[in-house]
């Protein structure tokens, strides 16, 4: 038993080391295009697993993720932009004086983005989490829209519909994947703790969970706020990746993409969300081809089909929910025991031959 624990520990370290080597190598050797896609995957990994905590593990059908992301993105942008560019960008109405001179380093700003998003999550959760299922869905969707509308209208803070530009650019994969891996580890710890089991108990049967002494409201609020926290962090990273934000980025469509990741990976599986986040982000880029004009040897020109990618994804979501409801992983997680057992039995078979 202890032997196995040690092996698993070593394997975990080995995997982490391997990832570090890859990041170190990739930062210098991959083209900026690939790095960008990988960084985007990391952001979607954070979004996917944090939404899965709320949706898959706690069973709360919240569609507010894009709203919390929006908050994170704006907080991080406003905190890190240089006073000079703030003066240029806020030309409709100048930025409120309190924010004009602030310029924080990247990491504190990312944390702050998460904290502010979590705070909003907490405040939104207090009324919204009294609701369930589809009413919760429509209410959280509503809150996300309200957040977006407020952002559009508070021009002296957010520059309104014009959005923000010249946000400091962060390119290093260490930042994106480092934070993604920390998020995975934290969420895995949460999910396997007695809190995580309480979340699952609430998902399985609210009435029984409450009868077993679990305070439904505080646990739901906790799960929801944690989800919002990581959505805020992902929003901040998004801002640093594409260096500009505007309110239309955080439409409901965005939540739909995250929903797709969660459903495809399996509601209730962190592993599934990680895999499908990376897969879908890469597919998203690969499928860009179908939206561009195709030229057959200069003879025939097929015009591009903008929107085709989303058609494919919408169909994908429908097929998964109709025919393969448990998704890629169901509620299973990656674990070494399974692999070790496989290797063991393989070895034994080999020995007996």
């Amino acid at each position: 038993m202890d032997d196995k624990k040690q092996i698993k520990f070593i394997l975990n370290i080995a995997v982490l080391a391997l990832i570090c080597v890859f990041l170190w190598w990739g930062n210098d050797n991959l083209s900026s295009f690939y790095i960008r896609i990988l960084n985007l995957s990391a952001i979607f990994v954070i979004l996917g697993i944090s939404m899965n905590l709320v949706l898959g593990f706690t069973g709360m059908f919240s569609l507010g993720h894009s709203g919390f992301m929006c908050i994170g993105a704006y907080v991080a942008s406003i905190l890190t932009m240089s006073p000079a560019s703030k003066e240029i960008i806020y030309f409709m109405e100048p930025i409120t004086p309190i924010l004009a001179q602030i310029q924080w380093p990247i990491f504190p700003a990312i944390i702050m983005a998460g904290v502010v998003a979590a705070l909003f999550g907490f405040l939104v959760g207090i009324p919204a989490l009294r609701l369930r299922d589809d009413y919760l869905a429509i209410a959280t969707l509503g809150f996300a829209e309200i957040i977006r509308i407020i952002v559009t209208n508070t021009i002296t803070i957010t520059n309104g519909a014009l959005g923000l530009k010249n946000i400091p650019s962060v390119k290093s994969m260490w930042v994106y994947w480092g934070i993604a891996i920390i998020t995975i580890i934290i969420l895995k710890k949460i999910v396997n703790s007695s809190w995580g089991y309480s979340f699952k108990a609430i998902r399985d049967n609210e009435i029984a969970a409450e009868a077993m002494g679990i305070n439904l409201f505080s646990h739901k609020l906790l799960s929801f706020s944690i989800g919002a926290f990581f959505a805020g962090i992902a929003g901040a990273l998004m801002a640093f990746l594409i260096t500009s934000v505007d309110p239309t980025m955080f439409r409901f469509t965005f939540t739909f993409q995250i929903l797709l990741i969660v459903v495809l990976g399996g509601m209730g599986s962190l592993t599934g969300s990680v895999i499908s986040a990376v897969a879908i982000t890469i597919l998203m880029e690969v499928l860009r081809v179908v939206e561009e004009p195709i030229n057959f040897f200069g003879l025939l020109q097929i015009p591009g089909l903008p929107g085709m990618r989303m058609v494919i994804f919408a169909l994908g979501l429908l097929l998964v929910i109709l025919y393969y409801r448990q998704g890629l992983m169901g509620t299973r997680e990656f674990n070494w025991d399974y692999i070790l057992n496989k290797i063991d039995s393989f070895r034994k078979r080999g020995a007996s031959m």
């Binding site: 934290i186 710890k189 949460i190 703790s193 007695s194 809190w195 089991y197 309480s198 699952k200 108990a201 998902r203 399985d204 049967n205 009435i207 029984a208 969970a209 409450e210 009868a211 077993m212 002494g213 679990i214 305070n215 439904l216 906790l222 209730g268 509620t331």
Partner: protein, 258 residues
């Protein structure tokens, strides 16, 4: 008197309809009390009021001389009342052991941060809870299926698991909602023994709703009879068996369950 539970003339209404009216129930330590009555008599409503699912429109509920009227279900469980459900409500994505471990969450002393950081305090607590739950499962002969999915157990064992899960919250008072439902005479006999056994072992007081008369008459010290939300009679099993009002209520209503 040191009652464990007193419902001081409680009543419940749904849309103007009285489901329970003026019920005065007293339960003393170590007793096994039966709550019987025809279908729709308001028995489960009484449970729901005691456990905080509903707040009585009139009257007060005292547990261990605390007024618990209107407290939320989780708080009441924390104070020491646990229950099972008429229709089994196990956590269906979890194993037998995980179902029981849930009940230890309310006795936690560490916080989420300590759990995320794998602090020794949390790990020690978790190991302790694990040991307690395994011991409990051994006592009730479910240890061999600890790692199986709760919903894959046969019906009788699921019922027992629900009771064990309630026990794991470390209650003083256990409410059982039709624990023998759907059981054959053999199984109900086993259940009776099981209930008296856990009562003695865990120093429990038990209040149970039951239709199987042989179970109720077999192990209950006192029985409350409810009909249309009104307390028709209270007394020892033999007193109840010979009570004319009770006989009338049962013959006039359902006797198929008995």
């Amino acid at each position: 008197m040191n009652e464990v539970l007193t419902t001081d003339h409680i009543s419940m209404e749904f849309g103007g309809l009285r489901a329970v009216s003026d019920l005065h129930l007293q339960v003393y330590p170590q007793e096994i009390i039966g709550l019987i009555g025809p279908n729709g008599a308001g028995k489960t409503t009484v449970f729901n009021m005691i456990t905080g699912v509903y707040k009585p429109v009139e009257g007060q509920i005292y547990f261990d001389s605390n007024n618990i009227t209107g407290l939320s279900p989780d708080k009441i469980t924390k104070l020491g009342i646990a229950r099972t459900f008429q229709n089994i409500r196990l956590f269906n994505s979890m194993t037998v052991l995980e179902n029981v471990m849930i009940s230890k969450h309310l006795r936690r002393k560490s916080n989420l941060l300590e759990a995320v950081l794998s602090m020794p305090k949390y790990n020690r607590e978790r190991t302790m809870h694990y040991k307690e739950c395994m011991e409990l499962l051994e006592k009730v002969e479910l240890a061999d299926v600890a790692d199986e999915m709760a919903t894959s157990l046969p019906y009788g064992k699921q019922r027992r698991l629900e009771i064990v899960r309630a026990l794991a919250t470390e209650p003083k008072l256990l409410l059982l909602d039709e624990p023998a439902a759907g059981m054959n005479p053999n199984e109900s006999n086993e259940l009776m023994e099981f209930i008296s056994k856990i009562r003695n072992e865990f120093d429990l007081t038990v209040l149970m709703i039951e239709h199987h008369m042989e179970v109720v008459m077999g192990i209950c010290q006192r029985i409350y009879v409810l009909d249309y939300g009104v307390n028709l009679a209270v007394g020892s099993p033999s007193e109840i068996q010979n009570n004319e009002k009770v006989i009338e209520a049962y013959l006039g209503a359902v006797d198929t369950d008995a």
